[in-house]
Symmetry: C3
């Protein structure tokens, strides 16, 4: 049976994407409303950071390690001066990472000195999030993306935070993947009853990939009936934008619009924090939607988290991913290619205005 | 004291046996009665498998990883078709590992395709166990061994399953080792009172080793008094058969016969699952034996598990085994040699009919 | 900003001290009063040991691994012979590590034999501790140090044992470090109020370093007021003696004398067991001191343990220490240098009588 064994040789194992190499991008590091005067420890692309607000209320993001004795600065406090004070010996640092005080030390050398500085990451606050640039001690090449904003007036917004035990690639693909919903979320999200042929057009730009679904009927199940009791055809797009935005958009007539934007911040190569921003304008009263949809959505997200955990454990147990895709895996392989190119540094940090070109049309049953 | 240090240099550290290299053998993977329609995750020689029954009730054993997105197939279910359905995207596989359905995918490509197959292991059901061949995608070289069967009519059987935190070698030696019983199981199994000289004959065959004890008095302690209230001489054999069978046999006159067969299935190099099959025909009523002996036997097994755990931790802490044996370690060194030869592939899968030859006679106090 | 990045390049990462290489020294392994007939498992410089008392009450220290089947000897018991008996097969060892019995084995070979010996460490009992020499099977080059003894009659002594999740270097520096007390132990130990200029003289000998503080006012806070209600100037020394003694000494007039000796026994490279011996002769009644000071001291030690844990985790996360010191880190860099020299074997095991020479004078605010 050597011939069979050869024929069945698995595809070569892929290394995972090393998120530490995706440094020249913005990442959502925390919600603005969660950052007060108390320093917060947050990890972004594997880098432990301490976030804090200085005397002027500006968000600072420093490497979470005092240069003196390597204690996490997040164990410290904000001093009366507005500087961040280490909890061990009281060294103080400003939002740029400069050492401003070494208590007890006399003379002109006190304060800033070569070697006493902490690496500092640029920050921005936008659309309710503190964004951090992945590379320390440099000027960002662009501004944070606008995807987390509500698309206009009249929209309600729900934000939820959830850690996924999956790679950035697996988490983003899962967030944008249509075929799994009939199985992993059986009964909750889509039924597995009658199937319809749907056409999907995949468009690719320099920093993104998007699938548009054409001819998709109103989704079955509870969520679909809630959104569009009269049935009809849905407009539906799934988008991935480098390095960490997964967006699902649904329109049903002029009345219903749902935009789920997942800001996927890699904590390390195998854990991804998702800030899910759900913006919607629906024919049903928001007061009704919120208590009905939130528990349902959280249940879906927990099912996704469970499958990502099992996937990650299996991948690590086998020493790497060995994925086989078909043409109905519309976005996953493109996301992988985009992340790999970004990791290799062959992509400029794009401003999101690049032209999209059709790369594939697929028909499938859903 | 350099001379002393040299004299005391420990024996070279042995690497442990790599169970992944013992692939060309049968292993008990679960009890037949525990395998219903629900897929079961089982690990055999380090390989994660999913066991299930297809529509015809046949046991299938596939690598527990969907080729699509590397989810454990054991998280799935049996579809109406009788195929195993992955819980993430619903891909279906038959008992041979062939992909039979990719939901949503259109056209002739649907179903089996190069790269979508899962590695499959041959299975057999015999004597109440599902046996799995360690190497995937090949025809087994022989049939599973018959040791788990009761030796004849009129025997009662008790089966217990227990995981030992020990290597296959350590677990099998422990199961067959006489001298430790007076110490580890002091008071329970053998006393440490008066000792008698016993003669043991060790016989070795191509795939096995056996010790026969001659002149052994009735064991002291509760178990011995139960078995043979009138005392007398015991016939006693301890056997190891490659790669995983440890068997203890006692006869006392024509009336009493006890056969404890331990099917030792390595989960990984340092964990061994033992399926203990206790077959007996005794002068006492079985209804009396069962409630008395089972708790006692389980206590003995738990003491063995505790000592194997401590041994394994110590061996790993020191980077490998450094065992020193004496001539009264009758079987351990032979088991080690047999496993090493099997690991090196220098032993054919034997059918158990090879001639046994005496390799040693030993007298000791027990 | 490449220039800035270059300027900010961190100091090179230091490997930690490997305590296994600090073998030619004495370490406190347990308190004498805690060692009875039951064998005790203790780890010293990464070596698992079993401590026990033989029939004559002498403390033995053997490698905690039976040469037969590598079970920890500490799972055994003391036999009637006074030897240490392994719990698995009953092999017996004396305090020198010689095998004295292999149960069941006949003939002249029984007992001691090449390969059956266990490595043995020299022991001494002194000042209430069992000391163990770090290298096995050799005669110690000197006797254990006398630091744990009370300095004279009329002293009360409190002994406490605490495990610190820190390297030997970090734990010893922390025990002797003055500047952190105003921050980590804010309010408990020193205030952060008015500061005074203090002069410190650092003296160094072949196996030790000592700082003497001159002009230090009575410490603020509860402890200071208790010690010297009338205020005044304190005499204060901090000492480190290779490889593991950190000592803090305070005198206030002829009446008050406090000597805190920390015997720092490395369990492994990142965990240090501290036997803190607090000897004192104060103007206040001992009966008053004990219940007041003990809880306070334990609270201080727990704060130190927490910061050492965070430091160790951060150091390991970043792959090594990257410490930056100033001139008011009086002892830490010297302790590091002494440990490094000891690790390299370039220091003789000293008898503590070497001359001390002034290496630095520093003025600072405290």
């Amino acid at each position: 049976m050597a011939t069979l064994a050869t024929k069945l040789a698995p595809p070569p194992t892929k290394e995972h994407v090393s998120v530490a190499r995706l440094a020249r991008y913005w990442y959502a590091a925390c919600r603005s409303r969660d950052l007060h005067r108390k320093p917060q420890a947050r990890t972004v692309i594997g880098v432990p950071l301490v976030l804090f607000r200085d005397a002027a209320g500006r968000a600072g993001a420093l490497l979470d390690r005092c240069p003196h004795r390597n204690i996490p600065l997040s164990m410290g406090r904000i001093a009366a001066s507005g500087n961040l004070e280490c909890g061990y010996h009281g060294w103080q640092f400003d939002g740029e990472g400069r050492c401003r005080l070494v208590p007890g030390l006399q003379g002109s050398e006190n304060g800033e000195a070569r070697g006493r500085r902490v690496a500092a990451h640029a920050t921005r606050e936008r659309d309710g999030f503190v964004w951090v640039w992945g590379e320390p001690d440099v000027e960002p090449a662009c501004e944070p993306p606008a995807f987390a904003a509500a698309p206009g007036p009249g929209y309600a917004t729900i934000v939820r935070v959830l850690d996924f035990p999956g790679t950035l690639h697996a988490t983003a693909e899962n967030a944008l993947d249509v075929p799994h919903t009939a199985f992993l979320h059986r009964g909750l999200f889509r039924g597995s009853g009658e199937r319809n042929e749907i056409r999907a057009v995949v468009r690719r730009g320099p920093d993104r990939v998007e699938a548009e679904y054409i001819g998709e009927p109103r989704p079955e199940g509870f969520l679909g009936r809630l959104l569009a009791p009269q049935g009809g055809v849905v407009e539906h797009w799934d988008r991935f934008v480098l390095p960490s935005i997964a967006q699902v958009e649904y329109r049903l007539g002029s009345e219903n619009h749902l935009l789920v934007t997942s800001l996927c911040t890699p904590l390390d190569d195998f854990t991804t924090r998702m800030y899910a921003v759900v913006a919607f304008r629906l024919r049903l009263p928001t007061a009704l939607i919120r208590p009905l949809v939130t528990p349902l959505a959280m249940r879906v997200l927990r099912q996704d988290a469970a499958v990502l955990r099992a996937q990650t454990e299996t991948v690590r147990r086998f020493g790497g991913e060995q994925f086989v895709s078909t043409e109905i895996d519309l976005l996953g392989p493109h996301i992988w290619r985009l992340l790999r190119d970004a990791e290799a540094g062959s992509l400029p940090a794009a401003d999101g205005t690049g032209e999209l070109a059709v790369v594939r049309e697929v028909r499938f049953q859903a």
